[in-house]
């Protein structure tokens, strides 16, 4: 590995060799082991840059409080039921609600059917003779007396 190749890989992957492609790590380590002053300077500069840029920010507690206080001063977002379900959960919830509606409809419909068939089967076996005072008068079509 040449010094230029080493520099290019440093720019691509940073100074942490464990993040380099496996087939390049050995050559990079060998180059560093050669203790070339210039290679080490390049490597140390890259290490320093990585270390500094990765320094975390520690926001003050005051900032958190400020944000939470400011959020109380603005209107709350309107309640959104569907927002409780994100992504696939929303689809699942929608499906479950549809399924319950369908089940309810089917159950109501089948109950009605059962009731209707019970009534029709019962009434079909009843004759006018079974009902006192209810006689059919020939000649007066469609009228019950």
């Amino acid at each position: 590995m040449t010094q230029d190749e080493f520099s290019d890989l440093l720019d691509m992957y940073g100074a942490d060799l464990s993040r380099w492609p496996l087939d390049q790590r050995g050559a990079a380590q060998a180059l560093l082991a050669s203790k070339s002053g210039e290679v080490w300077q390049i490597y140390q500069a890259a290490q320093f840059i990585d270390q500094q840029l990765a320094q975390p920010a520690v926001p003050s507690r005051a900032l958190l409080d400020r944000i939470l206080l400011a959020s109380t001063e603005v209107a709350e977002p309107p309640f959104n039921f569907w927002a409780l379900f994100a992504g696939w959960q929303r689809a699942m919830a929608g499906g479950a609600i549809c399924a319950s509606l369908m089940a309810g409809l089917y159950s109501g419909w089948s109950t009605q059917l059962t009731a209707y068939s019970t009534v029709t089967s019962t009434t079909s076996s009843i004759t006018t003779d079974d009902i006192p005072g209810l006689t059919y008068a020939p000649g007066e079509v469609g009228e019950w007396q």
Partner: protein, 214 residues
């Protein structure tokens, strides 16, 4: 792929991000009992406690990302506050089906910080832009401070897009794919921004004789 591999499962599990590159993982949103996706869903339903938890989880990285772009702490904190308050006012701006909450949040933060950076007049960098290492001697600390200031000045000279790429790469756990999406560019373009930024910084540090990692 640079640095981290693309996280192809990111849409399958909430907050599933690639391996972090920076050491500040103790406060990682990954450790939250409720993940950001679930919290965001509750915020959309007007849950203030979920909002507070979400702010607490993401505030450090949000400030860090804005600070890398703006180079000034006070402005970075203002951007973070603005981003979170706007989100509370209009939580439906985040659409869970389209991106992870963190990807969306850092995209909004970077864009807001870039807006502020474009409008802001150039101001001197913060005196204590980078933190000191208490383990070093006074002389070493002084040298470290000088190097850190030189680097901060070099970062400030980078084009805004390169600063934004650096902010996402070093301060968030986003995969290259998500970071590129946050900047609305291709992964290749994102990688190219990072390479150019690192090269420029390294060359400037070497030119100024600031190569010792201390």
């Amino acid at each position: 792929m640079l640095g981290r591999q693309p996280d192809t499962t990111s849409m399958m599990s909430a907050d599933s991000m690639a391996a972090p590159t920076c050491p500040n993982t103790s406060n990682s949103p990954l450790n939250s009992p409720l993940n950001s996706q679930e919290l965001a869903a509750r915020v959309s339903a007007g849950d203030r406690a979920a909002f507070a938890q979400l702010v607490q989880l993401h505030l450090p990285r949000t400030v860090a990302v804005a600070q890398r772009v703006l180079m000034r702490r006070a402005e970075a904190e203002d951007v973070a506050q603005d981003v979170f308050i706007k989100y509370w006012q209009k939580p439906q701006a985040y659409q869970p089906g389209k991106a992870l909450f963190a990807t969306w949040l850092y995209r909004v933060t970077v864009n807001r910080a870039l807006d502020v950076a474009r409008k802001a007049k150039p101001l001197p960098l913060d005196e204590n832009y980078d933190q000191e290492d208490p383990a070093l001697s006074v002389i070493e600390q002084q040298a470290q401070k000088q190097r850190a200031q030189a680097l901060a000045q070099a970062v400030a000279l980078l084009p805004e897009r390169q600063r934004a790429a650096i902010a996402l790469s070093y301060q968030t756990e986003l995969s290259d794919v998500d970071a590129a999406a946050a900047l609305d560019i291709t992964v290749k373009a994102y990688e190219s921004l990072l390479v150019r930024a690192r090269r420029t910084l390294r060359e400037m540090m070497l030119k100024g004789g600031h190569h010792d990692a201390g």
